[in-house]
């Protein structure tokens, strides 16, 4: 039988206690004006200071080894912090990438010197990371990357261009994927190496790329003879492909994979009030049922990760189903609001929030692994390829 496992894991009591702490912290931040929970684009200006205060609470890198400033707390505790921040619409962009991905990668593959240098600062909320994967000719097909790392005295020279790099212009570091040798006939994934890049290194230029939401997160990052010392090689030379897969389960199954447009549901509920008509009630009920199911799937995967298993297929399923759901949510909210009174006090706020989420929706099934890539992974897990 095709084994898909989703046990009904419940978060243990200490996680729910932590949740109350996070909520109290966020309530204070909202009261202090750091960000507006009902304004999807708010809080950017305070992201740096917010990051440091989150760090001071011990909520960045909380699962990391104590030797590097972490607290060796469980992934379930991290899960709680992540989902509370996401639902509250907190400005997490300064620390989210290092907390989820880059930090764990460094812990596993970086030199001791790099770990000692960067991780304690990351835990304090002082450093921000971006991910240098996509290139003009290489998106989902990661292994087509051409940006070159060439040997030189004591290190490497980087030449080429990364693109769609979110927040590169505000990041202190990048973990970049560069070509150190050509692919072999037997293995087209061979020849790429992960590097740590200090974004202040001479030769790096970040060119902004506007997005259809009106935001500016994307960058084109151009490397011209950028020198990286040997120590900045992260993991096995030419063997980056071996490092990617096991961590993707964390990246794919988290609450951020279905809560990105939660604000559209929140806004809808405020707009319809306590006694919606039967059509609206039915629509809301379905959305809540689907959201609850996704969260239960995601928590189940978090439990498997915490238990040391590698639920690659289950995680891909959470992202596949979750991102399609969060993409459709603003559309459903729009339909369900069609017969509301437009002069109601909550309506203007609803329309503003909805417009933002409608514009955000298309990217959700692209970033971090497209629907098509995920379906390929699931199909492989089912034994079809």
């Amino acid at each position: 039988m095709t084994a898909l496992r989703f046990d009904p894991l419940r978060l243990p009591p200490h996680c729910q206690e932590l949740r109350q702490e996070v909520r109290a912290f966020l309530a204070d931040e909202i009261a202090a004006g750091t960000f507006d929970p009902h304004h999807p684009e708010g809080g950017a200006a305070n992201a740096d200071a917010f990051s440091r205060r989150v760090g001071a609470r011990g909520w960045i890198g909380m699962t990391w080894p104590k030797a590097y400033g972490g607290q060796e707390r469980s992934f379930l505790e991290r899960y709680v912090v992540t989902e509370e921040m996401r639902v509250a619409n907190a400005p997490t962009r300064r620390f989210f990438v290092v907390d989820r991905q880059s930090g764990p990668t460094l812990i596993r593959y970086a030199s001791e010197a790099i770990k000692r240098n960067i991780l304690p600062r990351a835990v304090r909320g002082e450093v921000s990371f971006c991910i240098g994967m996509s290139e003009p000719g290489s998106g989902s097909d990661l292994f087509a990357a051409k940006t070159k790392a060439t040997r030189t005295d004591g290190g490497w020279l980087i030449n080429g261009t990364k693109i769609w790099t979110s927040n590169a212009h505000q990041s202190d570091y990048m973990i970049g994927l560069f070509r150190t040798s050509q692919p072999t006939r037997e293995n087209r994934r061979h020849g790429l190496t992960s590097f740590l890049v200090d974004m202040t290194t001479p030769g790096i230029v970040c060119n902004p790329i506007g997005q259809m939401t009106g935001h500016r997160e994307f960058n084109e990052v151009v490397f011209t003879d950028v020198f990286l010392p040997d120590d900045n090689v992260i993991g096995e030379l030419d063997g980056a492909w071996k490092q990617a897969t096991s961590e993707l389960a964390y990246e794919r199954s988290g609450p951020e994979r279905f809560l990105e447009t939660y604000g559209a549901l929140d806004a809808l509920l405020r707009a319809v009030g306590p006694e919606p008509d039967v059509r609206t009630a039915a629509g809301i009920g379905r959305l809540v049922a689907q959201l609850h199911t996704l969260r239960r799937m995601s928590v189940s995967v978090a439990g498997m990760l915490e238990a040391g298993r590698e639920p690659v297929v289950e995680a891909a399923i959470v992202k596949d189903v979750g991102t399609l759901w969060e993409q459709a949510l603003p559309q459903r909210a729009r339909e369900l609001s069609a017969f509301l009174e437009p002069d109601d006090a909550n309506h203007e706020s609803f329309e503003k929030r909805l417009a933002f989420y409608l514009k955000t929706a298309p990217k959700l099934t692209i970033q971090g692994g497209t629907t098509e890539i995920l379906r390929g992974i699931i199909a492989r897990g089912l034994g079809l390829r």
Partner: protein, 352 residues
């Protein structure tokens, strides 16, 4: 896939495989298999699984009972096992000892009201009672003069109008023309409680049927050759099956979570409403999408009466209608969520 190490669930699974294999049933073209299976189920205590040992049952935990019913869904089992289990459970909740034999439970539709008058006569009509005509007894939840009453009623005392569900299983209209129950007793289960219990059970069966659909579809895709290769090698087919995998996962996760909620906290309160409604809604949606994909992958052969696929797809689709369909539960859940207000939704979700 069986996510339980329970001996009783394994026993059930083995028994279904040995005595109710879908392909064997289709070939036999008779219902004789039921005559072999049912006595065996009774013998090992599966039919009264949810009846405490003190009342002559097997005293199986709620958890394991739900596991048995997911396994029954995986086998597309077409005997009133789920109904007898729920009936036994309902009787036990009123302290009434369950009789031997097949039972069903009424009402199974949200709008059917049954009433017991001061002379203890039961009247009203229950529509679409699953396996009504195959039951020896009915466990009925009715409004009594002083609150809900559980009534044990002999099937020979009621009028049964034959009807069927999508899969052709009995789904009968039962008229209670002022019958005197064999026994009647007060209970702490109300109408909602029975509806929630039934919905949690159907969600398990639907999840099980979907697991089987995925298994059949994956196997068929790797066997069937078209355009000179296995159809599993076509990306369009792979992606359809991956989508089916997602639907199965959702149905399984939601049903398991709802069952866990019933086990842990019972059938009242906001957690039970959220969890069970979600399982029935999401399971129903998965049945719709999942059955369509399973049939698409199988092509014409899966549409024949000879093939086993319809035993799973039609049951999963039919089970959606019992104990509140997706629309019913969506309205219930949506009204509740709206009444609580936007600020209460996330705390509710996060508490689970």
């Amino acid at each position: 896939m069986p996510d339980t190490d329970s001996f009783i669930v394994e026993t059930a699974e083995r028994m279904f495989a040995d005595l109710a294999d879908p392909q064997t049933i289709i070939h036999a073209r008779s219902d004789d298999w039921k005559g072999t299976l049912w006595p065996r189920l009774q013998e090992v205590g599966l039919t009264l699984a949810w009846v405490p040992e003190a009342q002559g049952g097997a005293g199986v935990s709620l958890d394991e009972g739900f596991g048995i019913l997911r396994a029954a869904g995986r086998a597309a089992l077409s005997v009133p096992l789920a109904e007898t289990l729920v009936a036994g459970w309902l009787l036990a909740r009123a302290g009434i000892a369950a009789p031997a034999g097949a039972m069903s439970v009424a009402p199974s539709r949200p709008r059917d009201d049954l009433v017991v008058d001061s002379a203890r006569r039961l009247s009203g009509t229950a529509r679409k009672v699953p396996f009504g005509r195959d039951a020896d007894h009915l466990a009925v939840l009715a409004a009594g003069p002083d609150g809900p009453l559980v009534c044990l009623v002999r099937a020979s005392d009621v009028r049964i109008g034959h009807d069927v569900n999508l899969a052709g299983e009995p789904s009968d209209t039962i008229d209670f023309p002022g019958v005197t129950p064999v026994q009647a007793a007060t209970t702490d289960v109300d109408r909602d409680g029975l509806l929630l219990m039934g919905a949690a059970v159907r969600a398990q069966q639907i999840a099980g049927a979907l697991e089987a659909m995925l298994d059949l579809s994956v196997r068929y895709a790797t066997e069937r050759v078209a355009f000179e290769k296995q159809i599993s090698k076509f990306q369009a087919v792979q992606h359809n099956l991956a989508k089916l995998g997602g639907e199965v996962a959702a149905a399984v996760a939601a049903a398991a979570s709802a069952a866990d909620t019933v086990r842990e906290g019972g059938l009242t309160g906001e957690a039970a409403l959220l969890e069970v409604a979600a399982a029935k809604i999401r399971g129903g949606e998965a049945a719709e999408t999942g059955a369509a994909i399973a049939h698409q992958v199988h092509g014409a052969i899966g549409f024949t009466d000879e093939h086993v696929l319809h035993r799973f797809t039609l049951r999963a689709l039919g089970w959606r209608d019992d104990f509140g369909n997706e629309s019913y539960w969506s309205v219930r859940l949506g009204e509740f969520v709206a009444r609580q207000g936007a600020d209460e939704l996330w705390p509710l979700l996060a508490s689970r």
